[in-house]
C-alpha cells in the first residue's frame, strides 16, 4: 500500500478538528484547522457571521452604533481617511462606508452556505460506524476485534438491505483497509490527483463522525480515518455511487455595475435630487475600498467593538486594599465565577483571585470508590501524574467498595434484562412498577428525591486525603506552586485561602460534562483543588518557595472547595484537615458564601429560561434535580472577553458573568514567564470555549448539536438527532438559545491585559499559536502598561490606540 494514500487521508482531514466524547466534553473551535489562515478565509467551512438582518436588528436597538460601524470600517479599510463631499454634505470617508452598510441589500454568506443533506449513503455509513463504536457490551459488533473495515466487510456481505449485486461487490473488496480504500478509489474512477479533494468532501459530508474518529484514532486507537474512508468508498463502490465532483457555481457578477449601483443609491440618499455625477464618482471611490464581501465582517467587528468599548469603559482604576483580608478565595477563570466572586466580595473580609480551575496541578485522578480514572487536566496536556484518594478508615471503605461492586453487578443484570431482545418485555412487566414509582418521585418531587439522596450520602461520607506526594516530586510540587502564585500575582496571604474548583449538577443531561470545568478536562474541579491545597500546605514546599522569594506565613492555611454552578453553593472539602485555630474562619466563609449564593441564584434567574427572580431560591435550585429541565443553568453562554490583570481592575464591576478573569500582577512576574503561560494555556482554552459557543450560535445545525430534546445517545460517545445520521458536534441549542432567539451573543474573544506591551509583543512573536490567533483575527488583544495609560489594540503591524466610538455626530 502506498504511503502517499495515507498522506492524502491526513491532508484531507487537516481541517477536521478532533471531537471529544460526551463524558469528557472538551470545547473546541470547530474551525481550528483554519487558524493558521485569516478568520475570513474559513468561509468554505460554514457561515462565519450572523446574517445581515440580525445585525440590522441590533443596529435599530442601539446595540451597534454608527460610530462602531465607522470604527470597524477604519480597521478594515485603513486607507479610508479624510473626508468626502456629497452635495452640500462633508463627512468622513469611513462614515460614508458605514452608512452604506445600512443600505446594503446584497446576499450574505449565511444565505450562501447550506448544511450537507443526509443521503442514503450517509445513513448506511453512520449506521455501521455507530454499530462498531457503541460501547454497550450487550450489543458488541461481531468481528470488532479485527478493526472497523474488516468487521464491516465481513458483515456487510450479509446485509439484506443491500442489493445482491452490491453484496457481491463487497465480497470482492481487498481484505485490509488501506488496500480496500485504494482499490475502491480506482474502481470509482477517482483520479490520483483528485484523491485528496474527493476524500475531504467525503469527510465533510459526515463531519461529526470524522471529528470523533480523528480524536479516537489518537486516544483509543480502535478506528482511524483510513478505515472510515475505506468503508465509505467501499459502500460507494458496492452501490455504484461514484463521488460527485461538485464545485461551487460561480455567481454572475459584474463588479463595476454593482459598484455604480451602490454609489448611486448612497449618493441619492445623501444629496437627494441634486446628486451630480461627481458626487456619485466620489462615493464610488470610497465604496470601492469596502467591497460588499467585507460587509458582514465589518458588521461583526462593529458588534464586537461596541461590547469591548463598553467593557473597557466600565473597568475600575482602584487599588487593592492595603492589608490582606482574612479570607482569600481563588476561583476558576470561568465566567460563572465572576458572579460568585462579585457577590463574595461584598463581605470586606474576603478577597478573590482568578486562576485556571485545575490550579496548576494536572492530574489523572482515581477515587477510592470510583470506576476507572478521570483525566482532570486541560486538554492541552497529556496525563502524567496519577493522584489517588486514600480514605482514612480503610476497613469501612473496603466494605463499601465491595457493596458497590455487588450493586454494580445487579445493575448490569438489570440492564441486560431490559436490553435483551427476548427479556425486555418480561422485565417491564415484572419490574416496571418499581421504576414507575421512582419516575413519579423524580417527576413530581425532584427536590424530595434529591434530599433523600443527599441525606443518605451525607451519612456515608468518609474522610479521605489525596496522595499528591506519590504523584509529584517535592521539586515538581514547588515548581507548580511557584508558577501558580506568580501567574495569579498572589504575593500576600490571608489566614484562610480557599481554592474553589467548580462542577455542575443536573439530571438526565447528556451535556453535563460541558457544564463542568473546561480546565479539568470536562470534570468537576474538586480533585485538583484538593491536590493543590495539599501542595500549598506542605511545609517542605513552603520552604522551597521561601528560598525562591515567596513567603507563605505559618498561620496561612489552604483549603479546597467546590462551587456548584447550578445552586451556586461553595462547599468546603477536606475540612477535617483544618486546624482548630482556623475553623471559625471556615465557618465565617460558609456563612458569607451562603448569602452570596442566594443573591447570585436570584441574579441568574433574570436570564434563565423559565425562571424568575421572584421565584424562591429553593425552587430555582430544584433545577439541579429536575430530570425534565433542559436549562439547569446557562453554562458559559454570553462569554465574550478575558481580562488578565489585578482584581482592582474589575472589583465591584458587574461583568454579567461574561468575562474570563485571570488575576495577574506584572511586578510579581518580572521575566514574563507567568504571562506567557497564561497567554499560551488559559487564553487558548478560553478561545476554544469562546469559538465553540460562537459557532454553535452562528450555525446551530452545522457546528452545533441542534435541540437536545430529540437527542439519542450512543453510549458516552456522542448523540444523534433522532435515530440516525451524523454524530452531532458542538453545543446543543439549549446552551446558546431559547425558542428562535439566541441567548449567547456570538462575539470573538476580546483578551484584555494590563501588562507591559513590550513583554506581550515578545510573547506573541515567539509563539506560533498566538501569532495565528491574533494576527489572523480569530481573537483580539487589547492592553496597557499601567492603569493610567490608554488602551492599545494589537495588530500584526504593531500596537494602535484602541478604536473607541467617539466620532462626533456618529453616536446614533
Amino acid at each position: 500500500m502506498s504511503l502517499l494514500l495515507r498522506v492524502a487521508v491526513a491532508s484531507a482531514a487537516h481541517d477536521i478538528v478532533p471531537s471529544w466524547p460526551l463524558d469528557s466534553f472538551i470545547a473546541v473551535n470547530p474551525l481550528a484547522g483554519s487558524e493558521s489562515r485569516p478568520f475570513e478565509s474559513a468561509q468554505s467551512l460554514g457561515p462565519l457571521t450572523r446574517d445581515r438582518a440580525a445585525y440590522m436588528t441590533d443596529r435599530k436597538a442601539g446595540r451597534i452604533l454608527l460610530a462602531d460601524l465607522e470604527a470597524a470600517v477604519r480597521l478594515r479599510s485603513p486607507e479610508l481617511t479624510g473626508t468626502v463631499t456629497v452635495g452640500d454634505t462633508i463627512l468622513p470617508a469611513a462614515r460614508l462606508a458605514a452608512l452604506e452598510l445600512e443600505l446594503d441589500q446584497s446576499p450574505d454568506t449565511g444565505a450562501i452556505f447550506s448544511t450537507p443533506a443526509m443521503t442514503r449513503l450517509d445513513e448506511i455509513t453512520s449506521r455501521w460506524v455507530a454499530a462498531y463504536l457503541t460501547p454497550d457490551p450487550l450489543w458488541r459488533m461481531p468481528h470488532r476485534d479485527r478493526g472497523f473495515y474488516a468487521a464491516w466487510r465481513t458483515l456487510a456481505r450479509h446485509d439484506s438491505s443491500l442489493p445482491l449485486r452490491a453484496r457481491r461487490r463487497i465480497r470482492g473488496l481487498p481484505g485490509d483497509a488501506d488496500a480496500g480504500l485504494a482499490w475502491a478509489l480506482v474502481q470509482l474512477g477517482v483520479a490520483a490527483g483528485d484523491t485528496q479533494r474527493v476524500m475531504a468532501l467525503e469527510l465533510h459530508q459526515l463531519p461529526g463522525w470524522a471529528s470523533h474518529i480523528k480524536w479516537r484514532a489518537e486516544k483509543v486507537g480502535d478506528i482511524d480515518l483510513t478505515s472510515f474512508l475505506a468503508v465509505r468508498f467501499g459502500i460507494r463502490h458496492a452501490l455504484q455511487l461514484p463521488p460527485e465532483h461538485t464545485g461551487s457555481i460561480p455567481r454572475q457578477h459584474d463588479p463595476a455595475a454593482e459598484l455604480r449601483g451602490r454609489a448611486e443609491a448612497l449618493a441619492s440618499l445623501l444629496a437627494g435630487d441634486n446628486v451630480t455625477p461627481d458626487d456619485t464618482a466620489s462615493v464610488a471611490r470610497v465604496l470601492a475600498a469596502h467591497p460588499t464581501r467585507d460587509h458582514l465582517f465589518t458588521w461583526q467587528r462593529a458588534y464586537e467593538l461596541n461590547y469591548r468599548s463598553r467593557l473597557l469603559a466600565s473597568l475600575a482604576t482602584g487599588n487593592a486594599p492595603a492589608q490582606p483580608p482574612e479570607i482569600q478565595v481563588v476561583m476558576c477563570i470561568d465566567p460563572r465565577s465572576e458572579g460568585a466572586r462579585r457577590h463574595l466580595e461584598t463581605a470586606p473580609a474576603i478577597e478573590t483571585f482568578g486562576f485556571a480551575g485545575f490550579f496548576g496541578v494536572p492530574i489523572r485522578f482515581v477515587r477510592h470508590s470510583g470506576r476507572g480514572a478521570i483525566n482532570s487536566l486541560p486538554a492541552l496536556l497529556a496525563p502524567r501524574h496519577t493522584v489517588t484518594e486514600a480514605p482514612r478508615d480503610h476497613a469501612t471503605a473496603t466494605r463499601r467498595v465491595t457493596a458497590a461492586r455487588r450493586r454494580d453487578a445487579v445493575d448490569r443484570a438489570l440492564h441486560a434484562g431490559e436490553s435483551g431482545t427476548t427479556t425486555s418485555f418480561a422485565f417491564a412487566e415484572t419490574a416496571g412498577w418499581f421504576y414507575g414509582l421512582t419516575s413519579v418521585l423524580r417527576t413530581f418531587a425532584p427536590g424530595l428525591l434529591a434530599r433523600i439522596r443527599e441525606e443518605r450520602l451525607a451519612g456515608r461520607a468518609l474522610e479521605s486525603s489525596v496522595t499528591v506526594s506519590d504523584a509529584f516530586t517535592l521539586e515538581e510540587r514547588a515548581v507548580l506552586a511557584e508558577a501558580s502564585l506568580r501567574m495569579m500575582g498572589m504575593a500576600r496571604f490571608g489566614r484562610l485561602v480557599v481554592l474553589a474548583g467548580h462542577g455542575s449538577d443536573s439530571r438526565n443531561n447528556l451535556y453535563q460534562s460541558s457544564l463542568d470545568c473546561g480546565a479539568c478536562g470536562g470534570n468537576p474541579g474538586a480533585a485538583n483543588a484538593r491536590a493543590a491545597a495539599v501542595i500549598f500546605n506542605d511545609p517542605s514546599v513552603r520552604d522551597l518557595l521561601e528560598a525562591r522569594g515567596i513567603s507563605i506565613p505559618n498561620d496561612t492555611v489552604f483549603v479546597a472547595a467546590e462551587h456548584n454552578t447550578v445552586t451556586d453553593a461553595i462547599t468546603l472539602l477536606d475540612s477535617h484537615s483544618l486546624p482548630a485555630s482556623h475553623r471559625w474562619l471556615a465557618d465565617e466563609f460558609t456563612l458569607q458564601q451562603a448569602t452570596a449564593a442566594d443573591r447570585l441564584v436570584r441574579e441568574r434567574a433574570r436570564d434563565l429560561p423559565g425562571a424568575s427572580p421572584r421565584h424562591s431560591v429553593t425552587r430555582l435550585r430544584r433545577r439541579a434535580h429536575d430530570w425534565a429541565e433542559v436549562y439547569p443553568e446557562l453554562g458559559l453562554a454570553g462569554n465574550a472577553a478575558m481580562i488578565i490583570g489585578p482584581r482592582s481592575l474589575t472589583r465591584g464591576v458587574d461583568l454579567s458573568r461574561r468575562v474570563f478573569l485571570h488575576s495577574y500582577q506584572p511586578g510579581f512576574d518580572p521575566d514574563g514567564t507567568g504571562l506567557e503561560t497564561i497567554l499560551t494555556a488559559p487564553v487558548v482554552v478560553a478561545q476554544w470555549i469562546n469559538h465553540q459557543y460562537y459557532f454553535s450560535s452562528i450555525s446551530p445545525d452545522l457546528h452545533g448539536a441542534g435541540t437536545k430534546t430529540v437527542h439519542n445517545a450512543i453510549g458516552t460517545i456522542g448523540v444523534l438527532t433522532g435515530q440516525g445520521g451524523d454524530l452531532r458536534r458542538g453545543l446543543p441549542w439549549q446552551s446558546v438559545g431559547v425558542g428562535d432567539s439566541l441567548l449567547h451573543e456570538p462575539l470573538r474573544l476580546a483578551v484584555i491585559v494590563q501588562a507591559p506591551l513590550e513583554t506581550i509583543g515578545q510573547i506573541i512573536s515567539r509563539n506560533q499559536v498566538l501569532r495565528d490567533l491574533f494576527d489572523n483575527e480569530w481573537i483580539t488583544i487589547t492592553a496597557r502598561d499601567h492603569p493610567t495609560d490608554p488602551w492599545k489594540h494589537y495588530t500584526r503591524y504593531g500596537w494602535h490606540t484602541a478604536p473607541l466610538p467617539s466620532a462626533e455626530g456618529a453616536q446614533q
Binding site: M1, S2, A10, S11, H14, S36, P378, L380, Q768
Partner: protein
C-alpha cells in the same frame, strides 16, 4: 566503518497537532521505532518558536527522529515531503551508522 551498518536517519520537526499523522507514516513505512522530542524551539520559515510551555503541549513543536534501512527510507521521504505541502514543518535526511542493524529492520 568499525563494523557499523549504514542506515538512513530522518528527522522531522512539525507542530504537535501534526505529529500523530507523521508517527502514523513512520510506522506504516516499516520503521521499527522512533524518538519524539516535544517542545523543541528555534527559528524557521514561520518565525520564532518558543520551546516547551508549562501548560500547553498541544501548540509546541515536536521533533520525530527515526532510523531505517535505506531501501525503506525512500517511500517515507516521499510521503513526508508530500505531507509538508499541506502543513508547516521541516525534514532532514542523512546517512547514519548503527551497531545493531537488526534493531532497525
Amino acid at each position: 566503518m568499525n563494523n557499523l551498518t549504514k542506515m538512513t536517519r530522518i528527522e522531522i520537526v512539525v507542530s504537535a497537532r501534526e505529529a500523530p499523522a507523521i508517527r502514523d507514516l513512520i510506522t506504516s513505512a516499516g520503521a521499527t521505532g522512533y524518538t519524539a522530542v516535544s517542545g523543541v524551539s528555534g527559528i524557521g520559515h514561520h518565525g520564532q518558536h518558543s520551546g516547551a510551555l508549562l501548560f500547553n503541549e498541544y501548540d509546541t513543536l515536536t521533533m520525530l527522529i527515526t532510523v531505517l534501512p535505506p531501501d525503506k527510507a525512500g517511500d517515507l521521504i516521499d510521503a513526508v515531503r508530500e505531507m509538508l505541502h499541506s502543513s508547516s514543518g521541516v525534514m532532514f535526511v542523512a546517512d547514519t551508522y548503527v551497531s545493531r542493524p537488526e534493531y532497525f529492520r
